[in-house]
Amino acid sequence: MSAHANTGGAGEPLLRVDDLAVHFETDEGVVKAVDGVSFEVQRGEVLGIVGESGSGKSVANQAIVGLVPRPPGFYPRGRIHFDGQQVLGLSERKLRDIRGNRIAMIFQDPMTSLNPYLKVERQLTELLERHRNLDRRKARTGAIDMLVQVGMPEAERRVDAYPHELSGGMRQRVMIAMALLCEPELLIADEPTTALDVTIQAQVLDLIRDLQARLGTSVILITHDLGVVAGMAHRVAVMYAGRIVEQADTDTLFAAPRHPYTGGLLRSVPRIDSEPGRAIEAIKGLPPNPAALPAGCFFSPRCGRASERCGQVYPDRDGDAGHYVHCHHPLSEGEP
């Protein structure tokens, strides 16, 4: 399964993020892109992180592998334990040994995330050269094998192609091959299907699900699309304005959301069984400016259930690790 030793004890999660904060120094002041986020990923688990653009979901995950540019970014507090080792604040050299090797990432747009000046082969082999000390010939064989595994047609030939010679779906397959080449323990997939055609989206999701099950890789699936999460994630964390507002296992979250924001997100997903002509419900307003967050609950200005208290005090965590929410007036079961 995995080439790496498991140094953590039984029950110890592969990844534990504790009270992580990632802030950015900007001309308009400090932007709290991520402010007090905690979550865990167990071995073999798929965690979905859902949120609108700017909710901090990508930044939080880039922090795990130290990809947040510093400056302007900085970490005022937080701990990130990967396989029992604190990785936040680890030297760049040690982080480089983890990146691409034990934690791999898939990015949103395979059009721009692959280097247009290099052949597919080079972009794959350099990983095996770096982390497995393979020579170029062996690395090429490994690259072709991986392309076959991700279902690249004519992998032998395509390995010598440049990215612009491949279709969008094939490019994302290359990205996935790249991510899984070193058999990472954790795969962070940041909006892996957003830039793809709808027909290709399903293929790519199937592929990730299939490989995840086969290799036992833990996955963090970052998306704004609840539909993507529904079929794949074991658990879902909903982020809003740099914080997790609700976390639950996937079935519970879909069946009985407690945060009004989660409820709003679920209602804004177009449904095949809804009456034709009925408008899709949208959440009113816009996400807050991260440089000027509202007082109290960040969602309160957009929330239909908000009371005076919501505009004053940020709600404490309510519920257990299995299903918790930050809300003064959570939805009860069966409420829309």
Partner: protein
Amino acid sequence: MTRFIVGRVLGLIPTLLVIVTLSFFVIRLAPGSPFTTERGVPKEVVEELQAHYGFDRPFQEQLFNYLANLASGNLGLSTKYPQRTVNEIIAAGFPPTLLIGSFALLWALLFGVSAGIIGAMRQNTVFDYGAMSLAMVGISLPTFVLGPLLALVFGLTLYVLPPAGWGAARHVVLPAVTLGTVYAAYVARLTRGGMLEVVRADFVRTARAKGLSEQLIIWRHMLRGGLLPVVTFLGPAIANILVGSVVVEKIFAVPGIGPYFVDAAFNRDYFLVMGIVVVYSAFLLVMNLIVDVLYGFLDPRVRYT
């Protein structure tokens, strides 16, 4: 690719033909003649000279003869230096010019690309501002100021390099630096701009996510895209650098082709002017072709049709 190159090389011939014909007209339209001097030369002598060089023939015939000679590689006779052919003058003057030019180019690329990379990777730091201020000085300083300044400092004060002259390797340094500095400055600014275009590109983030070292990321993932603007600039610039500068050659007493070109124009030394124009144009065209090919080599998305 091969077809593209062959096609472009064949395309050079008509371009060169147009340049030669136009220059031929222009230089002949200029008032005066090679034999106009303050000393009165007897009419018969002038006529004899005209006949010797073929200037008494109809204009079309002269052009045709010139082109025919050119096709066989014969650039004609100099009127100013009757004992030497244009081929000989160019063969003697071009090597020093090319040598200075090559080292100027090397200096421009070494300094320019390094400074540009440092500027981009350390954007808005002391290093960036330092490198770019230096580049600004390089662009603003004319060679007729920089040249004597360098000669004064390194030649006449520190005594580390000869202030002028020709014949040894160390004679190359000051003229090459003088000639190359302005190009180094442009290359630095273009490299910085090009690198800044890619420094935040998604594929560079991908490269970081792979755990590659910073040097490898710069070298393999950024430099190709980052250097594209430099390559575009280098086409005309290389030709300019390699054929040198009259000013630099005068300042450092380099026996290059530059001063001949100016003198030839003043003396209406028709064939010498034409010869230098032909060689210079051919050079420029070939350099542009090389840059186009190089561009496709750097960026695989460029199609050759």
